[in-house]
Amino acid sequence: MNGNSSKSEMQAAYWMATPWLIGFTVLTVYPFLASLYWSFCRYDMLSAPKWVGLANYRRISTELFSGGTLAQAIFNTTYFAILSVSLSVVLGVLLAVMLSWEVRGRAVFRTICYLPSVVPIVAACVLWIVLLDPQQGMINEILLKLGIPAQGWFKSTSSAFWPPAWPEDHAGRIVGSKDGLVLMGVWGVGNLLVIYLAAIADIPPQLYEAAELDGAGRWRQFWHVTLPMLTPVIFFNVVVGLIHSVQAFTQIYIVSDGQGDPAGATLTLSLHLFLAAFKELDLGYASAVAWMLFVIILLITIWLFRTSHRWVHHQGGA
């Protein structure tokens, strides 16, 4: 290829990349730098940003240690993220194994389990708000028939797993709004099923044959073949699931009437900083919280990758 044609190639490349380059500069690089700068400013959108040094970050640390709104938001986010991710892993693996069985009507079962994940989030919220209504909701009706007391769901501040207690002390514990959100999320586990199913289909049949020769029954085959072979996908599930649930916003905003109701029980970091920015016009503080969120996500991701070799099984290593 001669020099002339590669110069025209370069020109073509630049103009073809131009739309993205403009968007990247104006909608990513500038906002990225601006929010970093504003996190050191007092800024209300009406007058110019005013440099206040570390004041916003100092406010964050005070709120954290004095148990203010921010501490509550961090607790809610952590509870929601950990419960969502662990349930999605357990249910994802369990359902995928069952859906990989060669049974009659397998395609129907797969479609049924995948379908909830295509339901638009707003429609899913409408559905679950009605289903989980503490007074008239279908779910509480069913629970009552089964002899289980009515739960508070989206109207209750309590949570099923915090503070932790022995199972017998859990009796009478009310399942609350965060648990409702987790339940709603787990219902949409279908996307993950697709990936888990593909991974199960990729497990070499010889591994099962060898396990069977060694006299391993169904359970041992699951523990010693299926589960280890699925760890790379489980790892992916954990990383992406944590990032997604820490950033979750729409369903939380809708279910909590846009303010973390009831009594801040669903006020997550996303919602907290959204309200700080657009309700209280405290853009400096909101930017500082956003950067804190970013750093937390980054640290968790790095930590997950660092510790992954301890439990993620990689094929073809030796």
Binding site: P19, G23, F24, L27, P31, A34, S35, I195, T250, F294
Partner: protein, 274 residues
Amino acid sequence: MNNRTPGWLGFLSLVTFSALMAAPLLWLVLTSLKTPEQMASEPYSWWPSPIRWQNYSDAVTAIPFFRYLANTLILCVGNVVGTLISCSLAAYAFARLRWPGRDVLFAVLIATMLLPWQVTMVPRFLVIRELGLYDTLGALIVPKFLGEAFYIFLLRQFFLTVPQSLIDAARLDGCSEVGILMRVMLPLCKPALLTVGLLEFVATWNDYGGPLLYLNDPERFPLAYGLEQFISSHSSELNLLLAAAVLFTLPIALLFAVLQRAFLSGIATTGMKG
């Protein structure tokens, strides 16, 4: 082999779990066809009798359904077109052209996918407002004409699979780079374009955060946002609310039924939806 065929206990749990997954949707559809009296009747019955189709016609008149739908469709068409144009141009430049800075910029592009939307939310909002786009559908459409990292990455991976000989042949015939993109790349990468278009369509159809941030005038609300307003104002007419939710879900479910393969390949390449 025995790990592929369950015992009766396994089969029973498969049926149970599937029933639990299906029950909410089934309940949604059946309840959306009930009369208000049936909804309150004791003993509870799942089945609506008589079936009240009128809930659906009532639902579309109780809210400005068709106005919201029109807004949603404008957004969907605008966003899909914008995404396909801007992203395939950039993806071609990244995949098949040599230019200084390409590899560095591509690494940066990948890195931006890790940035939480909360970090850029506020300044982005102010940029859009400065551009005079606040409270217009343009606030949501214009950024789509400026490319999106994730789709550029996805399309680039597909463009890389097209044989270099086809590109060289087209160049020898005097075809411009855009011509190569239009006549060689895009026709060969139709499944990838379908996947990207579909993901963007569904993402736009479902988007709630965008309208919440950028739209103020109810005349411009898309369905996802308009429907949510309906929750608080019509909470006494639950059957209508549920009918509206069914109407809102149906097109996406149908799209999935028809284009199942493109949906699943989107997940297979990305591990998540939009």
